[in-house]
C-alpha cells in the first residue's frame, strides 16, 4: 500500500471559524507555516519516475540550497496535464506523449527496461513474448509446458493503476487480460522478493532493480541488458520524460540541464536507469 498519489490541493484558505481555531492551534505549535515554493520547483506525475526525480532533486538542492524542489506523484497522465496547465513546473511521464500532447516540450531523461524475472533455480533462461503473454493470460499454467519442471507457475503481477503494470500491458499483453488468479503485489520490491523466494514464480520489474536474487529472462532470444534496450532490440522498455508547457527557462531550465548533465546521468545510472547523451531537448 502506498500513499495516495492523486494531487490534492495544497493549502487551505482560512475562512470558517473552525479553520481559524485550527490555525491558532497550529501556529502555537509551529513557527512559520508559510514558506513553500517562494523559490521552488514543483514536479508532478509518474510514480515510476518519482523516486528518481527525488534523488535528483536531493542532489540538486545540495548544490543549490536556495532552491526547494517538491516532487509529487499522480501518475503519468496527471503529470502531463499538470505541465499543460502549469500546475507543476515539470510534469513527469513514464510513457511516450500521445499525439495530442505533442505540442508540449519534453525531454527523455532516461529509459527504463522491464525485465521478466524468475527464480535463479528455474532452469529456463529464455521465453518468447508470446509465451510470456500466455503465462500472464492463464493459457500456460505449468512450467513443464515450457520445458521446465512439472510445477504450477505462480504468476505475480502489479496492482491496477500501477505504471509498471500499464507499461507491461501496453508493451506485451495486446489487450489480452491478465489472469485474475494472478498474485498482485504493490511494489517492484515485493515482486522481486517473492520471485527470489519462490522457485516457481514469475514476475516483472524495472530492469534497474534486477539483482542476484532473481534471473531476468531473455525475450525472443534477446537478453535484458542496457545495451539491448539502447539499441532497441529488447522491446520491453519505456521512456522517462520530463514535460513542460513550453521551452524551459530560468530555474526549470537549470534543473533540467543538471538532470541531463554527466552528473545527473551518473546519478540515474547508479539508480539502475539507462541514460545516454541525448544532447538536450527534442
Amino acid at each position: 500500500m502506498k500513499p495516495v498519489k492523486t494531487t490534492p490541493p495544497r493549502r487551505a484558505h482560512f475562512v470558517s471559524k473552525f479553520k481559524i481555531i485550527l490555525l491558532v492551534f497550529m501556529t502555537s505549535l509551529s513557527s512559520g507555516c508559510n514558506r513553500k515554493n517562494v523559490n521552488g520547483l514543483i514536479l508532478a506525475g509518474s510514480t515510476s519516475v518519482q523516486p528518481f526525480a527525488e534523488t535528483l532533486a536531493e542532489a540538486y538542492m545540495k548544490l543549490h540550497s536556495e532552491i526547494s524542489i517538491d516532487v509529487q506523484g499522480g501518475g503519468s497522465s496527471a503529470g502531463v496535464m499538470s505541465a499543460q496547465t502549469n500546475t507543476a513546473d515539470i510534469g513527469m511521464s513514464s510513457r511516450s506523449l500521445k499525439d495530442k500532447e505533442k505540442t508540449l516540450w519534453s525531454v527523455e531523461i532516461a529509459r527504463d527496461g522491464l525485465a521478466i524475472i524468475i527464480n535463479p533455480k528455474n532452469t529456463i533462461t529464455s521465453l518468447t513474448l508470446n509465451q510470456v503473454r500466455d503465462i500472464y493470460s492463464g493459457v500456460i499454467t505449468n512450467w513443464s509446458q515450457l520445458g521446465g519442471k512439472d510445477k504450477d507457475i505462480h504468476v505475480i503481477t502489479r496492482e491496477e493503476g500501477s505504471g509498471t503494470r500499464s507499461a507491461f500491458e501496453d508493451l506485451l499483453m495486446d489487450d489480452i487480460e491478465i489472469d485474475p488468479h494472478s498474485i498482485v503485489q504493490d511494489s517492484n520490491g515485493t515482486v522481486r522478493q517473492l520471485v527470489g523466494d519462490d522457485a516457481n514464480a514469475i514476475g516483472y520489474i524495472s530492469l534497474g532493480l534486477v539483482n542476484e536474487k532473481v534471473k531476468a529472462l531473455e525475450l525472443d532470444g534477446v537478453a535484458a541488458t542496457r545495451e539491448n534496450v539502447l539499441n532497441g532490440t529488447y522491446v520491453l522498455s519505456r521512456p522517462y520524460l520530463f514535460v513542460t508547457s513550453s521551452e524551459p527557462v530560468g530555474e526549470v531550465k537549470k534543473f533540467i540541464d543538471f538532470v541531463l548533465s554527466a552528473d545527473g546521468r551518473a546519478l540515474l545510472d547508479l539508480e539502475g536507469l539507462i541514460t545516454y547523451d541525448s544532447g538536450g531537448s527534442q
Binding site: 500500500m1 502506498k2 500513499p3 495516495v4 490534492p8 490541493p9 495544497r10 493549502r11 487551505a12 484558505h13 479553520k19 485550527l22 492551534f25 497550529m26 505549535l29 509551529s30 513557527s31 512559520g32 507555516c33 514558506r35 523516486p51 527525488e54 534523488t55 536531493e58 504493490d186 511494489s187 517492484n188 520490491g189 515485493t190 522481486r192 522478493q193
Partner: protein
C-alpha cells in the same frame, strides 16, 4: 466417548497450559526476530540523522519527528473531547437515550477499520478541508481514531473515584465545576493518563490511516502543513520495497521498544491508581 472426570481434568489442564505457553513463545518469536536483527542498527547516528537516498542510507530522525508531531496533534485534539465526553457520561447525566447514543457512537468509532479512517481522513481533511497530506491531516484522523480509547479509559477512571470525594466537595460548598476539577479529576488523573498513553501507542503503530492522510515524504517536517512519513510507514516502505532491510529492522525495533515502554508506563499508572483508590 466420555472421559472420566479425573482424566478430563488432566487433559483440559494440559491443553490449556500448553496453548498458553505456545502463545507466549509465539510472541517471543515475533519480537525477538525483529530485535535480533534490529538492535545492532540502533546506533546514535541512526536515531539522529535524517534518511538519505529514500532511506537506503542515513538514519530515521525525520520519521521520529513526524511520528511525534502526528501523535502530538492527535493527543492534543482527542484528549479534551475524550475526557470531556467521559465526564459528561459519568458526572452530568443518568443513563438515558442520549447516553446510549453517545456510547453507541463511541463503540462504533472503535470498531471502524483503520483503512476506512484512512479513506475518511483523505477525503475530509486532505481534500475537503484542503489541508493536503500533512501532519495536521494525519494527526486529526488519528485523533478521531483514538477518541473511543480515551473515552473508555477515562470513564472507567472517573467511575472508580469514590462517591465520598464528590460528597465532601459538595458539602464544603464546592460547585459542580470545582468538584470535577479539584476532587474527581486529580484522583482519576492517572487512569486518564493511562488511556492517553494507550492512544499514543495506537498513533505510533498505525500505518494504513496515516499513509493516506500524512503522506510519505521523507523530508524533515517544518510545519504542521508538511507531508511526512511516520516510523511505522517508513518500516513498511523500507521492508516492502526492499530498500534497506537493515534499516527496516532498526525502525521496527525502535517501534517495539516504544510500544513496550508505553505499555509499561500505562500499567504502572493504572496500578498506582488502583492502589490509591482502594
Amino acid at each position: 466417548m466420555l472421559m472420566r472426570p479425573k482424566t478430563a481434568e488432566k487433559v483440559a489442564q494440559t491443553i490449556i497450559w500448553s496453548v498458553s505457553i505456545l502463545v507466549v513463545l509465539l510472541l517471543f518469536f515475533i519480537v525477538s526476530f525483529i530485535l535480533i536483527k534490529g538492535v545492532p542498527t540502533l546506533t546514535w547516528d541512526f536515531l539522529t540523522q535524517n534518511p538519505t537516498q529514500s532511506g537506503r542510507s542515513g538514519g530515521i530522525l525525520s520519521t521520529i519527528v513526524s511520528t511525534l508531531m502526528v501523535t502530538l496533534v492527535a493527543i492534543l485534539v482527542a484528549t479534551p473531547f475524550g475526557v470531556g465526553t467521559a465526564f459528561y457520561l459519568t458526572e452530568f447525566t443518568y443513563e438515558s437515550k442520549v447516553t446510549k447514543i453517545i456510547r453507541f457512537s463511541a463503540e462504533s468509532l472503535a470498531a471502524i477499520p483503520s483503512i476506512v479512517y484512512g479513506l475518511f481522513g483523505f477525503i475530509f481533511f486532505v481534500i475537503y478541508l484542503k489541508l493536503g497530506w500533512s501532519i495536521l491531516s494525519g494527526g486529526l484522523t488519528m485523533a478521531v481514531m483514538i477518541l473511543p480509547t480515551i473515552i473508555r479509559t477515562s470513564e472507567e477512571a472517573i467511575l472508580s473515584v469514590p462517591r465520598a470525594y464528590r460528597e465532601v466537595s459538595f458539602s464544603l460548598g464546592g460547585n459542580k465545576w470545582q468538584t470535577i476539577t479539584r476532587a474527581v479529576l486529580p484522583s482519576a488523573f492517572p487512569g486518564i493518563t493511562a488511556g492517553i498513553i494507550l492512544g499514543i501507542g495506537r498513533c505510533v503503530a498505525e500505518t494504513a490511516a496515516v499513509i493516506l492522510t500524512a503522506g510519505s515524504s521523507l523530508h524533515m517536517p517544518e510545519s504542521l502543513f508538511d507531508p511526512s512519513r511516520t516510523m511505522a510507514v517508513h518500516f513498511y516502505i523500507l521492508a516492502r520495497e526492499g530498500i534497506s532491510m537493515e534499516r527496516a529492522y532498526g525502525t521496527a525495533t525502535l517501534l517495539i521498544i516504544i510500544i513496550l515502554g508505553i505499555n509499561l508506563t500505562a500499567n504502572m499508572l493504572v496500578n498506582r491508581f488502583i492502589a490509591k483508590t482502594r
